[in-house]
């Protein structure tokens, strides 16, 4: 079973995504956007894919993405960035994201993107 790490500051969204992804057969880890907690989660339970929220005004989502993509142990983990702000798409790819999804999203579309970006 593939493991998904969901990184978002909103607890309700973390819960909803956990519900949906477990239902779809994934093992789910969730964490708020705290850099050190994210690092710990990745170390303890390396994920197969990461869903990362972007907050447009703060830079933490993209910052975390950049850091992970340049980290020796983490650069190969695919990252899908999600955001409520449509302008976040370009900057997400600039930060090294493998894919992008706008909120609110269709769960079918999310599952397809996860399938597409997972390493075989």
């Amino acid at each position: 079973m593939k493991r998904v790490l969901v990184v978002d500051d909103d607890l309700d969204i973390l819960e909803a995504l956990r519900f949906m992804l477990e239902d779809a057969g994934f093992v789910v880890e969730t964490t708020p956007k705290n850099g050190s907690i994210v690092d710990k989660k990745i170390k303890d339970h390396p994920p197969d894919i990461i869903l990362l929220d972007v907050l447009l005004s703060g830079h933490d989502g993209r910052h975390i993405c950049k850091k992970l993509k340049s980290g020796k142990n983490t650069k190969d983990i695919p990252i899908i960035m999600i955001s409520a702000h449509p302008d976040a798409k370009k900057t997400s790819f600039d930060a090294g994201a493998d894919d992008f999804l706008g909120k609110p999203f269709d769960i079918g579309v999310l599952l397809e993107k996860i399938k597409k970006n997972l390493r075989p």
Partner: protein
Amino acid sequence: MKKLPTQSNQDPSSPINSEVNDFRIFMEKIISWASIIESSEDAIITKTLDGIITSWNKGAEKIFGFSASEAIGKSITIIIPKDLQKEEVAIIKKLKRGIQIEHSESVRLRKDGNKINVSLSISPIKDSGGAIIGAAKIVRDITHYKQMEQNLKFLSEASKILSSSLDYQTTLNSVAQLAVPDIADWCAVHLVEDGQAKQVALTHKDPQKIKWAMQINKQYPQDMDAKTGVPNVLKTAKSELYPQIPDEMIVAAAKDKNHLKLIRNIGLKSAMIVPIIINNKCIGAITFVTTETMRKYNPSDLKIAEELATRAGLAINNARIYKETQRAIAMRDDFISIASHELKTPVTSLKVYTQVLKQHSQKNSQSLVAPYLDRMDAQVDKLTKLISDLLNISRFQTGKLEFEESFFDINQLINEVVDNIQASSPDSKLILQVKKVGKIYGDKDRVGQVLVNLLSNAIKYSPKVNKIIIRLLQESNKINISVQDFGIGIDKKHHEQIFERFYQVDNPQEKTYPGLGIGLYISKEIALRHGGNLRVKSSRGKGSTFTLILPKKRGKK
């Protein structure tokens, strides 16, 4: 002159009496001419062809300051400034040819060295043989008139400067610079900031003098409780006019002997200070002072200065209102941005749960629940769209909607959009009649946005018939994408307005179609920004065809 005796005997026809009579009439004429010359306010001067003054009336005494005994016998050059001596030579030349000079404007010199603006009329004096022996000169002092002319020109120029920019610090400085040296020797502008009078401009034609004045100001800062001058004008919002600054005022303003000496050194002659008023509040003052030019300000000068202050007040007020408006708009936009972001968060969770439940109900073929979950999902989408529209309006209005252009495959985009919409509207029948066009230049996301908008509208406004045809074809260097529905259609009278912001066709008898009414507005703007257009063909009850026209390739801007 005494009146002459009339006649020696009573008989008017006697020869000696008629001679006396003629002489009397002649002398009376001379006396009345003489009194005209004497009482004239203008200077009436006669001179020889060598320029020696031969007569000098009261007017000349008054205007030039030389008495008749001082002037007669001297050269006319005593009243001509050194740099204009050539003028006199030219005048004499003209006179010798018998040419009259009328209303020629020039500058002449007073006894005290002051220059004055004058208007000259000079005519040749001939002797009984017709030979030119001299000239008669009428000189009118037009200094006052010239000053008024200058005042008005200054006011006009200053107004132009004030309305040229919202940066009133700079424009006020420019106006103060404009004022010297034509209107004043010194000009200063003060504005009230945080209860203090701040000097925002100080000008004089000699920058050294400005430095020196600022040093004095630093050493002896202005007493804000002074009963006269800028502090008083700021307090009372009333103008002050000093045609001649009295020495007592200077003594009262001086803080010590040294200060008094410094002030006296400046050589203050005349001053006027006018308040700048906005909404009945005095927010500043403009000061005009003469020193070197020795001009004396009068009430009509003050009127011009007050008019200038009024216009300055308007300019400053405009700038402030604009700044506040911009700030309010920015705050509103920030609020809308944050609000729509916040709204999307719970909607995201809602959609996830709704769709998971939908999936489950479909798997368990619980037909009771499935249709309701379908409707719930559709409503969540509507909610999402409203929130996005809200965000889009404000961003579009402030021009923040960014365009990213590149080459993209239009066929691929159409397929993507149609697939997505078909997936979320399984009841609609989307038919593609597309020719292969390939790559076009534009913003893929925005063009996609337009297609989504047109298709959503087509579905929304076709409650009964679910067929929708999407066509794509190329016409020379343009591509046409049309979306045709067979729904309720749009009456011709609305065809122009539907592209306007917030416009919704009002149909009280029919269903209400909720939305903010900006989809077509934004779609048309996107089309126009690409150098294309968005057109509609429709009539009531017969469905609608919206055509998006885009240039295939665009020359890079």
